[in-house]
């Protein structure tokens, strides 16, 4: 009983990937000729074959249901990018002595492990802060201004991520 449940879950998981990969191919190619559709089917089959083999190796099933959460997260991140870009641009056009580059280790215990890449990438994506290293529960961040480090230490990105995806258990 239990094994069949797992099997069903694996099949629906594969089906979701097959459907989204096919949509991706169609959006990229835009042609509906049989030859090109055949190439599309072949590449989807190839990707699924590699995908299943890789999943047996790393045993980290990729969750699929995070689209809604990503959609909730993106506008906020875009706002952050805009405001910090303005700050960095001001620094660039101002005098060079105003920069106060600083380095700090930030604790990310609260962020779930699967979301740490997202966290580190969000830090790097917002201008003015740059992830140098991710090591265990700590992220080394270099910032153009001391204030950005203070904001990160208060956990303004971390609390947004845990607010959407839940805390680390």
């Amino acid at each position: 009983m239990a094994t069949s449940k797992i099997k069903v879950r694996r099949y629906t998981h594969s089906a979701k990937w097959i459907i989204s990969l096919s949509i991706f191919w169609l959006l990229l190619s835009g042609y509906l000729k049989p030859l090109l559709l055949g190439f599309g089917v072949a590449s989807v089959v190839l990707v699924m074959f590699v995908f299943n083999r890789m999943q047996r190796v790393d045993n980290e099933p990729q969750e699929f249901g995070t689209w809604l959460q990503i959609i909730r997260y993106t506008p906020w991140l875009l706002g952050q990018i805009l405001s910090s870009s303005l700050r960095v641009t001001k620094l660039v056009w101002g005098s060079a002595s105003e920069v106060s580059p600083s380095l700090a280790k930030i604790n990310v215990e609260t962020v779930p492990e699967a979301r740490r890449t997202l966290y580190a990438n969000s830090i790097t994506l917002t201008p003015g802060t740059l992830t140098l290293d991710v090591d265990g529960d700590e992220v080394t961040v270099h910032a153009l201004e001391q204030t950005s480090i203070d904001e990160l230490k208060k956990g303004y990105i971390a609390s947004k991520i845990t607010g959407i995806w839940g805390e680390n258990k």
């Binding site: 990018i81 960095v88 641009t89 620094l91 920069v99 790097t124 994506l125 201008p127 740059l130 270099h142």
Partner: protein, 112 residues
């Protein structure tokens, strides 16, 4: 309506170009490697977002908009990865940040 779209996309493109230029100026103006990466990330993030959204408004409704959005998504995923790879290898290669250099100078001067 079309004129309005043209105006909005024009504004987006011009501000995007301005941010791209600021990033380029920053790469030359800022003092050391780590700070320069920050300047480059202005071009990576906000300039890309503004220019691609300006182009989306110029494109007739259809499959090309999806392609432009794919470009945007992949740039937003790969450019921080590239800056991170650069910065991490610089750090592991032994390049010091400005504050660490200043600390080193003080320790050198202290014994004299």
């Amino acid at each position: 309506m079309l004129l309005l779209l043209d105006i909005i996309s024009g504004i987006l493109l011009v501000t995007g170009v301005f941010f791209g230029l600021s990033g380029a100026v920053g790469v030359f103006k800022l003092p050391n490697f780590f700070t320069r990466v920050h300047a480059a990330s202005v071009t990576d993030s906000i300039a890309v977002i503004l220019i691609v959204s300006g182009l989306v408004l110029q494109t007739p409704l259809g499959i090309n908009i999806a392609k432009l959005l794919f470009i945007l998504v992949f740039l937003l995923i790969t450019s921080p990865t590239a800056s991170h790879a650069l910065a991490k290898s610089a750090r592991h290669g032994g390049l010091l940040t400005m504050s660490e250099l200043e600390k080193g100078d003080q320790e050198e001067k202290a014994p004299k």
